[in-house]
């Protein structure tokens, strides 16, 4: 490495894995790869060495749109108080059986 010589950036990808027992893809981390094919292979080598995975999604980091943490109150607070959306809010007599 000569001083002043910078290594060019390689694209960043986010990795989501659905495990053998899982129902949904979970975010597990990120990695660098020049293109999608290499990224998928790298994700397999990096994040599924212990038999964790059954399905991999990779997404260019820039493609993810996330909610702004500053808006947490506005986005998520109102749903907390609407407890009637949860099944446990309702009393169902035991004789009716499972509902």
């Amino acid at each position: 490495m000569t001083p002043g010589q910078k290594t060019p950036n390689t694209p960043l990808w986010e990795v989501f894995i659905r495990s053998r027992n899982g129902l949904a893809h979970k975010h597990v981390g990120s990695l660098h790869a020049a293109d999608a094919t290499l990224a998928l292979q790298a994700a397999r080598d990096l994040y599924t060495r212990r038999g964790e995975g059954l399905s991999i999604w990779i997404v260019p980091s820039g493609a993810i749109i996330a909610s702004d943490p500053a808006d947490k109150g506005m986005m998520f607070e109102p749903t907390v108080s609407k407890v009637y959306r949860h099944p446990t809010f309702y009393d169902v007599p035991d004789e009716v059986g499972h509902m």
């Binding site: 990695l31 660098h32 020049a34 094919t37 290499l38 292979q41 790298a42 080598d45 990096l46």
Partner: protein, 258 residues
């Protein structure tokens, strides 16, 4: 007290199994040499993975050879106590890593054979070989894909990578005939349905390699003279050096358990 190498009673099937085991071990060993020296960290992981798969295949095969031989040998005695003339691997496997392009080209040539090979071997009349084949086939499918993707990128990348990739093809091409050899002992095993006739894998190999080289914009050399000898223990100068590193501890501390 000194070590002496073991003597192996090489019946046709034992010899056959040792040949495949040695291929896997020597190639796996070569790949492990990349650890700490790779061009990209993710690629060091990938090469490590391939190496581990191959070492795993070697261990299963050595265990089977030991069972067949029934002479008290085991995976470590085969690996550490045979000298170069007793090793039965392809010359391609012992070829030094060279640059990343050469390593990927070697992997392409090897895996383009190993993949259809293991797929065919899954139907072997020999239950143990069939089971090893079923597992190995999934591994070799991945190795082939990985090597192919890299050969394409190196061939169709920059001018420099193209030159290096072409150089790799030209250097290694002469080592691609040996894997299709079939001597008299093996022909008997083929006839018994125990093993696949390597000639039957030729078309698949040609097709795969031809397609990858074409997508990589690389020129396929004219087929000329092919290197040979590894299957009967006549190796290149490289194997002796490789084994002297690999076997050093067992040879220096004979009889010890590690």
């Amino acid at each position: 007290m000194t070590t002496t190498s073991i003597r192996v009673n090489e019946t046709p099937l034992v010899l056959y199994v040792l040949r495949r085991a040695d291929d896997a071990l020597i190639l796996g060993h070569r790949l492990s040499e990349w650890i700490g020296h790779g061009p990209i960290l993710e690629e060091e992981m990938a090469l490590g993975n391939i190496g581990l798969d191959l070492i795993g295949q070697a261990r299963s095969l050595y265990a089977y050879a030991a069972e067949l031989e029934g002479a008290g040998n085991d995976e470590d005695r085969y690996a550490y106590l045979r000298d170069a003339p007793q090793y039965r691997n392809l010359l391609l496997a012992e070829h030094p890593n060279g640059d990343f392009g050469q390593t990927m080209m070697r992997q392409l040539f090897y895996s383009a054979f190993a993949d259809p090979y293991w797929r065919a071997m899954a139907s072997s009349r020999d239950g143990t070989l069939a089971a090893i084949a079923a597992k190995s086939e999934k591994e070799s499918a991945y190795h082939l894909r990985h090597a192919s993707e890299w050969v394409i990128r190196l061939g169709d990348g920059t001018e420099e990578s193209h030159e290096r990739a072409q150089e790799a093809v030209d250097q290694l091409w002469g080592y691609t005939g040996e894997m299709f050899e079939c001597d008299a002992a093996e022909r008997a095993l083929v006839a018994a349905g125990t093993v696949v006739d390597p000639a039957a894998l030729r078309d698949a190999w040609d097709g795969t390699v031809g397609s990858v080289l074409s997508r990589a914009t690389l020129t396929r050399p004219k087929t000329g003279w092919m290197q040979s000898g590894g299957r009967s223990g006549r190796h290149s100068e490289h194997l002796g050096l490789l084994l002297s590193v690999m076997q050093h501890l067992q040879r220096t501390y004979p009889g010890a358990t590690w």
